[in-house]
């Protein structure tokens, strides 16, 4: 080790240390920059003191204030939130039941069940939007009615495409569960419900929260399906932004978009934190802590 002082070698990257290679780093950096630049630009220009928002003129919060006072926007935001909350609650319940049944039971035609449950994830959004529109109109679904009932069509559509995602998340969490804990619980006399409540549920709770947050994000962000199922009185936040974009591009649109971005990022980060969290009572295959 003393000879280290005399040796002028700099350690070369090993053949598999690709990430230390210059050209790869450059490529990743360039791609990341190009991915984020437009978004950063959008956020920055939401503070632009210029109505036509083409050239930077100065810093201001004015357009955020304008957005705050824009009744249509606020209404749309409240709608989005309401739909998201209700959709999240129901999707989480449905998604959990699907995850449980796939994890727990063997039954005939199970692969078909699994595949069908995955359909909402795979089907192109436009097809689903069209289907919901056709369905609600042919069935004569009441689109009037007091708030929040008039949001029911959109909410139902959201639940349909959210719950499979929740199911996927919870299934992933369940795959790490050591069945011996469940068997021990039954051995000690607990019935199905008690075992679920005291043993299984605490384990999947982080997955549940993560799945719920995922459903929330999907619902709040959804544009295409909502576009087909919403009407003039039932506008959601993304749909409102779309009409603002079509109409005129002012920093107000940027401001509204930035708000949505912030909500999305925070919710997603929370979801990921929960999913990987070991703060909660962790019953992994390696045994209890």
């Amino acid at each position: 080790m003393m000879l280290a002082i005399f040796s002028r070698q700099r350690e070369r990257p090993g053949p598999l240390e690709y990430t230390r290679q210059f050209w790869l780093r450059l490529m990743v950096f360039t791609t990341m920059t190009m991915l984020y630049a437009p978004i950063v630009g959008l956020v920055v220009f939401s503070f632009n003191d210029s109505k036509r928002n083409i050239v930077w003129r100065g810093f201001t919060f004015d357009y955020y204030l304008k957005a705050w006072h824009n009744d249509g926007l606020i209404d749309a935001f409240v709608n989005s939130l309401t739909i998201a909350v209700i959709a999240t609650l129901i999707s989480t319940i449905i998604g959990t039941s699907v995850a449980l049944i796939l994890w727990r039971f063997r039954f005939p035609l199970k692969p078909i069940y699994e595949g069908t449950m995955a359909l909402p994830i795979v089907v192109p959004e436009i097809c689903m939007g069209v289907a919901m529109l056709v369905f609600f109109s042919r069935v004569g679904w009441p689109s009037g009615g007091p708030w929040p009932l008039n949001l029911s069509a959109i909410t139902i559509a959201h639940i349909s495409f959210c719950f499979p995602f929740v199911a996927v998340v919870i299934r992933a969490r369940l795959s790490g569960f050591n069945r011996e804990f469940e068997e021990a619980s039954r051995d000690l006399g607990a019935n199905e419900w008690q075992t679920f409540r005291h043993i299984i549920f605490p384990f999947i709770r982080p997955g549940l929260i993560s799945g719920a947050l995922l459903a929330f994000t999907l619902s709040i962000d959804d544009f295409i399906i909502t576009f087909f199922t919403s009407g003039p009185n039932t506008v959601t936040f993304p749909v409102k932004i779309y009409s603002m974009v079509r109409f005129s591009i002012t920093p107000e649109v940027n401001a509204a978009s930035t708000i949505l971005i912030v909500i999305t990022i925070i919710t997603t980060l929370l979801a990921m934190w929960f999913q990987t969290s070991s703060r909660f009572y962790k019953l992994s295959k390696e045994g209890a802590p």
Binding site: L16, Y18, T19, L24, M27, V28, T31, M32, L35, Y36, A37, P38, I39, G41, L42, N53, I54, V55, I93, I94, S97, V98, L100, I101, R104, F105, R106, F107, Y113, T116, L119, P120, V122, P124, E125, I126, C127, M128, V130, A131, M132, L133, V134, F135, I156, A157, I159, S160, A167, E192, T217, F223, I224, P238, Y242, V245, I249, L260, I261, M272
Partner: protein, 305 residues
């Protein structure tokens, strides 16, 4: 795993919610669309199901066939571009030091979570005539022009009289660029997941036997990560095929894709049966792609690691 008969009550409790909802609010609506695709319009509002194949026949008329074809090659091009960009990134993250991996992954995936509409809108500001890219190019042009004037070549106007901005919006280019921009994060994840599962010894063995890095990439890494690549391709190709927001906002009237046509049938053109037929054609394509993929996985499943 229990047999369903062992705890029938629990099975029923967990079986009902999902099945009932999916049937009532997903399968049935799809069924409605399928039935409607065989219908006809009578008057402005009424639609009668006459079981006519006309809608499908109309869909393969030359105008629409042209748009369908265009959607297909745009989607294919976008998928290829996404693949080329994502592979090095997935590689870089997979071979990074363990403590950096989650952070790098998060940074790549984050844009994926931002609303599609917002990301598209952000691109408008970048691509338009008086947008960021053109501003940047204009700045460069002015600097270069000033340089030329400085060395006395000003009057020849090598760079033209004025700066000509690039027309990057409202054409095929913007649609392709926009779609690629939006769908890159989708492809990174499956490829990354597959790369993580790749036993590093295979790469080392290939190098040890004398193969170059490039040869190793094509002979060893890609064949062994193929399932991930295929998954990623499907995750991009199908949504791309059905997209309408991006062609709408970035492409304008010059770049129509099948999604735009469908949307129009349900809004302005008000020809629901035709729109239904087109939607279902899209679904058939999707099923076809998925079927091909399962055939490929069945053949390759013998070849487990």
């Amino acid at each position: 795993m229990n047999n369903w008969k062992d705890s029938k009550s629990v099975f029923i409790t967990t079986f009902l919610p999902g099945t009932v909802w999916l049937t009532a609010f997903f399968l049935v609506p799809l069924g409605f669309v399928w039935v409607m695709s065989f219908g006809e319009k009578y008057g402005i509002i009424d639609i009668v199901i006459t079981w006519t194949p006309n809608n499908y026949l109309r869909a393969v008329e030359s105008i629409y066939l042209g748009i369908i074809w265009k959607s297909v090659w745009i989607s294919a091009l976008v998928t290829a571009l996404c693949l080329m960009v994502s592979f090095p990134i997935a590689f870089a993250v997979s071979f990074a030091k363990d403590k950096w991996k989650p952070i790098l992954l998060l940074i790549i995936i984050l844009p994926f979570w931002i609303n599609l509409l917002i990301r598209t809108y952000a691109l408008i500001a970048v691509f338009r005539t008086r947008g960021h890219v053109n501003f940047g190019l204009e700045w460069l042009w002015e600097k270069a022009n000033a340089g030329l004037i400085l060395i006395g070549l000003g009057k020849h106007q090598f760079l033209g009289e004025k700066f000509q901005p690039l027309a990057m919006l409202y054409n095929d280019f913007s649609v392709i660029a926009g779609l690629t921009y939006v769908y890159i994060p989708f492809i990174v994840l499956p490829i990354y997941a597959m790369l993580e599962r790749l036993d590093r010894s295979y790469i080392e063995a290939s190098l040890d036997l004398g193969a170059s890095q490039i040869r190793t990439l094509f002979s060893i890494v890609i064949p062994l990560t193929l399932p991930g690549i295929i998954a990623g391709v499907i995750l991009v190709f199908i949504p791309c095929l059905g997209s309408f927001v991006i062609p709408d906002l970035l492409g304008g009237t010059n770049s129509q894709m099948i999604g735009n046509v469908i949307e129009r049938q349900f809004k302005s053109a008000n020809d629901w049966p035709f729109g239904a037929a087109l939607s279902f054609l899209l679904m058939y394509v999707m099923f076809g792609v998925l079927a091909m993929r399962s055939l490929l996985t069945v053949r390759k499943s013998e070849m487990k690691v």
